[in-house]
Amino acid sequence: MTAALSPAPDQDDTRRVALLARLLPLLPTGGLLSDPEDIKPYECDGLTAYRCLPWCVALPDSEAQVIAVLRVCHVLQVPVVVRGAGTGLSGGATPVAAGVVLSLARFMRIIEIDPLARLARVQPGVRNLAISEAAAPLGLYYAPDPSSQIACTIGGNVAENSGGVHCLKYGLTVHNILKLRVALIDGEVIEIGTHALDSPGYDLLALLIGSEGMLGVVLEATVKLTPRPTVAQVVMASFDDVTQAGNAVAAIIAAGIIPAGLEMMDKPATAAVEAFVHAGYDLSATAILLAESDGTEQEVAEEMAAMCQVLETSGARDLRVSRSDAERLKFWAGRKAAFPAVGRLTPDYLCMDGTIPRKHIAHVLTRIEELAQQHRLRVANVFHAGDGNLHPLIMFDASRDDELDRATALGAAILELSVEVGGTITGEHGVGIEKVQQMCLQFSADELAAFRGVKAAFDPLGLLNPGKAVPTPRHCSEYRLTGSAR
């Protein structure tokens, strides 16, 4: 941002002081942080390469307080960045310098679980896994299971339309939310969706889910609960060749099977994970596939046999089927801990998130390896193969020469590759600030203008999470000038 566009510092300071004075009486004791030391933990989300200290962090504990905070920010025209657990990987919760971070961490109550209607009504700060834990005694669970599910909140899940290892069969967040209570930036509260399966009018639920905290603040969510399958079993298949593994994914689907989960890890990822969780992964394999089947006992037996056969004919060198639920969870533990496991090997990493047609998996993995070499960096791949949703993890050390720049450039090249093969720059982590430039690659000027229209329909002043997800026309012309875009 140029100096001419931001207010003069002293003017800025006056606004900040005025804002704090207005917010303080609205919030409970300890509910307003402005000391640099106190707000430091909020300076970034899971995308740690981007950091920014906001003016303050508001931690309301009632809906009325949230609304009051929004009203003040609206009147004073101060930007608001909503924050759940801060596990986002695209910078969606990165603060804005002259703005407020509105943390919903204190909204941790599961309001109601209705076992007959198979739904849970929860506050936005409830952790994803907490819902499944609370529903477990009733034989139910909340299906979308991001690997961050111990920490991430349902509010964040809604904002990002998060997925998990089971979403090929059970859907993404958008398929599992029935109703939202949402505060708009001016403090008005709306309810969208119902406990019925549909409601009249445009599908605002679809619009809100995945809107990256830019359209409204989720105050409450009603989520669908799914009956826990009687049994689940996972097979771990080792391949000597990435192409074979990629083709095996297509072959499973061609056989009419929709596995409950279908994940892939390459050799560097397997090595990192095995050192971390000791799950007995095959360290000599070039690629490992994890394929899960769930359902009734008979169903699983039938499907598992079919899957093993397909894997074998596809060239799997070794198959290991879980013999107990403990073993199954152990196999998955590695996959779910893959990011932190890679994180142990490198000071910093960037997690990419492109989704591509499955048929290009092998080609894209090969290209990523070539690009990594060109940029003199290492990449580990661990991803939702069934959905074609890749997660190349770019390892680097931000404190060394130009590694951050090279990592960013490699990331951009991988995103461009995803678009080139007919895919998208983000499958589940969101655009945030990380990929805002590559939006110019995937969408035309008219399409981006439509997104800006949608934003303005909810937030005419552009105060909710400004600068994220939807690029300005200027962003795009700059991006094109730097030559990254074709």
Partner: protein
Amino acid sequence: MTDLTEQLRERILAASSAAPLCIRGGGSKDFYGCELRGELLETRAHTGVLAYEPTELVITARCGTPLAEIEAVLAEHGQCLAFEPPRFAENCTIGGAVAAGLSGPRRVSAGAVRDFVLGVKILDGAARELSFGGQVMKNVAGYDVSRVMAGSLGTLGLLLEISIKVLPRPVAEATLSFAMPQAVALDKLNQWAAQPLPIVASAWQDGMLSVRLAGARAAIAAAVQMLGGEKVEDGATAAFWDGLRDQHASFFAGMPLWRLSVPSVAPVIALPGETLMEWGGAERWLHSDAAPATIRAAAASVGGSATLFRADSTLKATVGAFAPLPLPLLNLQRRLKQIFDPHGIFNPGRMYAEL
């Protein structure tokens, strides 16, 4: 396989708020929504399956492609549209199916049209081609405009192309029937739904509950054992469920026909008339002469809504096809309409007078 984009574009450019357009595919759903207004803009000739690879689980087709053609192509590879869009007539198109946003019996387990829409290409009110979403399973780049198109009844734009997720057809199916009153059926259906059973659809009418199972052979056999009931002869089941899906079943004859979308646990709704209940209790069709306001209030009182599905035009004109929206929601919807169709040339009033 014809590309009609240019002709469609010209018609849109020639339209105005004084001379709006009535977008129409096969015309099989002319009865749905409010009154048709504007000059007819037919999409039926904009046809062709543009991409289909069974292992990608996606089909992309032009809007005028007959649903029958799409389903036939999918069937060749053992796949299907799991949301079972109704085929009110032979000539219905994929564009119409998505725009209407209606789903059939399996919706309760498989999901609705909107759950399967992966991407769209539209012509907006300024005749600009815009693409949202894509052909991949997961895509969170930009707001999810393509799902919003499902059920928007052509009021936001002309759907040129649609990419839809497809699924393998179930290996095996079976239908069971049980004699029981509606309240008991509701109880059973909700209890069953909370268990890992392969129930994919249900229908209750006249004291008879039918339950459709689908999935692996062994799972069906086990469920048949566990649930009991009377096994319906396999030869008769397809016609039965198609009759519900396509509304050829005799129940659907006659007007007015109301569709109540309610929580599945909502108790029996005490309104005079005949009821047919689908979707595990979440969809209740009603032939009733009760006052529209009474029916709408009854649906709203259990947290649902009532659509006047089939009725003569006078009744529709008086009470509207769809339940009125709370003002803040209506205002948001108006603003969305403004973005894509600022001059109001697409299907004005088909959903709500204000859109």
